[in-house]
């Protein structure tokens, strides 16, 4: 890890913020800012994508068989409610001090948000629209793909925006087990009161969140021109 490097820096006297960034951006070693940024991206993106991939079939099933919805959503909400530390403790015995230990709970959190989004999105399809699709001779699969899912997209994307921002922010918690991505910069500062890493950590995490959110807004515009047009009118 980067501890020796950091202690050495401080021993050399407090450098300026820019100096610190320049020296630590790419040391070629584990724990450089670039390295932490990469880890952070992996640990936040994998849960977002995996969460969506898993929430879609779960949401479709829950919308189709309503009795499935409450128990399924309940399971993910309970996991969501559990404090991170015991969850990590539990997982460490299986997956060790690895990224997977952070990725798994974050994926559960993503599902906890996205499952209702998918169900609500499908519920936002007006009944007369569904009925007229049936009456025109859509097969159930084609109706789902060409009518129901496209109409659900705005609600699902709204959920996805929440998930993206919260995942990017929550990865930092992994610092508890030495897998916090940019969050590692905060724990180091806690051990050695020293401002630059904290500032860099916060700025980069917020920047990541903004970029992810911006990309999703862009996707929303491209995928659902009919929603934008409605707002404009």
């Amino acid at each position: 890890m980067g501890e020796p490097l950091l202690s050495r820096l401080i021993a050399d006297g407090p450098p300026s913020l820019w100096e610190w960034i320049a020296r630590n951006w790419d040391t070629g070693r584990v724990g450089s800012i670039k390295d932490l940024l990469g880890d952070h991206l992996v640990m936040s993106l994998v849960p977002i994508v995996a969460g969506l991939v898993l929430a879609l079939p779960l949401g479709l099933a829950s919308a189709r068989w309503r009795w499935l919805y409450q128990p399924t959503a309940g399971v993910f909400n309970v996991v969501y409610a559990l404090p991170s530390l015991p969850v990590f403790m539990l997982l460490i015995s299986v997956t060790g001090l690895s990224k997977t230990t952070v990725i798994i709970p974050l994926t559960f959190y993503a599902i906890a948000v996205l499952l209702p989004a998918v169900v609500d999105g499908l519920g936002s399809v007006p009944d007369h629209v569904r009925q007229s699709a049936v009456a025109m001779g859509f097969t159930p699969l084609r109706r789902l793909v060409q009518v129901e899912l496209p109409i659900a997209v705005p609600v699902v994307l709204a959920g996805l925006r929440v998930v993206a921002v919260s995942s990017i922010s929550l990865v930092s918690v992994g610092a508890l087990i030495g897998q916090g991505g940019l969050g590692m910069l905060f724990t180091r500062a806690y051990q050695n009161p020293f401002l630059p890493p904290v500032i860099v950590g916060i700025v980069l995490i917020v920047a990541l969140a903004l970029v992810a959110d911006g990309l999703l807004v862009l996707a929303q515009r491209l995928l659902t021109p009919w929603v934008r047009a409605r707002r404009a009118s």
């Binding site: 007006p126 629209v129 025109m136 001779g137 109409i151 009919w226 047009a229 409605r230």
Partner: protein, 352 residues
Amino acid sequence: MITFDAVTKRYADGTVAVDNLSLEAPTGEITVFVGPSGCGKTTSLRMINRMIDATEGRILLDGDPVQDIDPPKLRRGIGYVIQQAGLFPHKKIVDNVATVPLLLGWDRGKARSRAMELLERVGLDPAMGERYPFQLSGGQQQRVGVARALAADPPVLLMDEPFSAVDPIVRTSLQDELLRLQAELNKTIVFVTHDIDEAIKLGDRVAVLRVGGRLAQLADPKTLLSEPADDFVREFLGHDRGIRRLQFVGTEGLRLRTDLTVPAGFSGGSPEPWVLAVSDDGRPVGWLRGDGGGEPEPYGTFRPGRDSMRSALDAALLSPSGCAVAVGEDGKVAGVATREALDEALAEAADG
């Protein structure tokens, strides 16, 4: 032809929505199902395209039981229009209209040009094709709904209260438009409404249903108005049944007087209480008193042969003279139907 053969629908909760219904909807005609809310109109309609399956009995489409046809295939051959139009909010109007052709595997270009053609046909500017449904008024959406149902040129059209949600003026124009389209297309149409006036205006045949899903009467509109089968039908038809029946009585035989017209500059000297002032080009100006006093008074017109007795009577009631002005296609005065002439025609209508 659509045949209901002793069809019953019992829902899972025991509700009998349709009870032993037998009737035929002839090819190329508009058959209207009318009745109070909950009498099983929607259920009956949806059993035709198998959105609902009958519990007992059979429905035949040109002799083939619909139960034997795969639902998606069956439905692609049957146009369907509903009250809220049911347009896809995420698709442009042109793509909405092209839906069934695309389901049938037409190529995109052909489906879209067919859609444009249909938009024009139902009285919409094809430029609207590039809009989204929410950018259209209710009446326009309903027209798109009709265009979409007609896109693949299905022989059968099912319409479930398609004009109920629009305001009365738009409704009237949509009804006229449907009659105009039907004169060109000759579809087999089953039209559901709770509005008896709409049923009488649109139906070649009207099936009156009562709550519990039983057929009360099946007849053409004129017979329905003159010979209601029972008290339920009589009550459902409403109080001004006699007046409304006059819309099926022609004005061909109405006796017209041509000696009641005077030039616009008339200044008195007629023994008649009222005379009709006519302009140099033969158009009506107004009623004048036979002694020449006062300003021209309002008049009402009708077209003999084309308009009904109801229109002629209405025209008579609009003028102080109590006479209706008959005009030709060119708007020129053809004669005057006096109270006596109207009276004779009404007496005849009452007899026959």
